[in-house]
Symmetry: C2
Subunit: 254 residues, 2 copies
DNA sequence: GAATTCAACTGGTCTGACCAGTCGCCTGGT
DNA sequence: ACCAGGCGACTGGTCAGACCAGTTGAATTC
């Protein structure tokens, strides 16, 4: 042990733009500066922080790349506060997916885990209004399946969001969505959904009805297994051969 | 459907610093510019990209805040490429935790899900060398428990990393680590570990041995349950009262 | 050969300028 | 009284050039 009691902590230099960014970020995260509110103009921030404009701009860049803020040229009201979103999470996961660090198989497996767990928790913790929302989205999916794939996917996303809300864990939902986006980004062009989109959408609606039924029954295991199986069926043929065992392993987890 | 065939896509302006950042990011993600390699100096990038220095700097700020590069004043070799890490994921999750969007209970529950699933998959897919690595880290934890909490935690992290590698899904490990860091950031000061750190470390070593045994036996369910239970025992008293049911629900999943 | 000095870098910051875009007011015509 | 159009005062995006403090490595000195 050290003889002089608490040793001094090493201190690394803190850049000016970091302190500016931290101050603004703290205000946003603390609820001061709520979403929709506006930051002062850059030249005004220069006065308030007593730093150069480039410093202010680098700080704003950091906040913007974190998804906390959005700025638009010529906006007389200054940068808009967006609040905390899952955008940055999605981007981070997307990068992991695009790098060799994680393969498509890992992404899909991860999604299987997240959606299955989301379903399982929803089965345990759902409320009546949650069920109503899920049901509503399934109806929308069915009606939108005649309109187009894009609208259909949107309703699909809303269904999963409703499930995530029912599970009581928004984080699960956000991550699942981020991974979903990452998967789509990586693989979308490889799957020629358009060929039998109608058939696929019909089957998807039927699958979602099954999930909803399992959640309503409080049968977490079945809800989880349904989610896993659907992902497996859909993606198993498209992942690298050597990572398919990951999916198989995840599939048999329940 | 539209009468003119494919409609034109709306186009939003792309800033110069974005294109600079994208070019560099692509090179990093594609494996060109591997971790440890160096970017040219800023003034050299100014020449190569034919933009002003502030533009280059804003691009570098974006990359740096994404955890892809790190720069240091006076470094004659230029910014260092870090590759894709979980840092940004951690920061994003930390922000979600610090805002009202997600509670500590959700974070812990999420961690329960991730670690349990990681353990379960490791039990199914592990190799002998994986087991050796886990065992080695447990030995290190035991010996380091006399040195200090910090060193202990480091070995602990390496154990979980070994588990994640055994599970075949690095994404799970990175996310688990990110959530772990976020939890630590939010709650660390609230838990007075120091008081009975020795006792806690002893119990932790015993717990890790149990997990390792379950993984070695291929008993995924038990490995998962052990992971969940340990987190529950450790954190249940520290989460908000109204989110403890989340942990309970996650606990009873297996 | 080892210690010291120094010059050529580096990234961080500031200043001041210009551009294109946006908004709001103010004017002119109806 | 109302609406259209234009004009100016902003905005953020970009560039150029300068200075500073820090690092590095080679030349210099002992």
């Amino acid at each position: 042990m050290s003889a002089q009691g608490a040793p001094f902590q090493p201190v690394q230099p803190v850049r000016a733009y970091q302190r500016v960014a931290e101050q603004i970020e703290d205000r946003i995260l603390s609820g001061d500066l709520p979403p929709g509110s506006r930051l002062p103009a850059e030249r005004e921030l220069v006065n308030q922080f007593a730093v150069g404009r480039s410093t202010v701009r680098e700080a704003l860049r950091v906040l913007q790349s974190a998804g906390l803020v959005r700025s638009r040229p010529g906006d007389p009201q200054g940068a808009e506060v967006l609040g905390v979103t899952s955008d940055n999470l999605s981007r981070a996961l997307g990068r992991l997916a695009r790098s060799q660090i994680s393969t498509l198989g890992e992404l899909v497996q991860f999604r299987m885990v997240l959606e299955a767990e989301s379903n399982r928790l929803a089965a345990r913790l759902h409320s009546e209004s949650d069920l109503a929302r899920m049901s509503e989205q399934i109806e929308r999916m069915e009606s939108l399946s005649k309109v187009g794939l894009h609208a259909f996917s949107e309703a699909d996303a809303l269904f999963h969001r409703a499930v995530a809300e029912a599970s009581g864990n928004s984080l699960l939902g956000l991550c699942a969505r981020a991974v979903h986006d990452a998967v789509v980004e990586v693989i979308e062009q490889k799957i020629a959904k358009a060929a039998d989109a109608t058939v696929w959408m019909e089957r998807s609606v039927a699958h979602h009805r099954q999930v909803l039924a399992a959640i309503r029954d409080g049968d977490g295991a079945r809800a989880a297994q349904l989610g896993r199986q659907a992902l497996y069926d859909y993606y198993a043929d498209h992942v690298e051969d050597d990572t398919r065992r990951l999916l198989t392993a995840a599939l048999e987890d329940g």
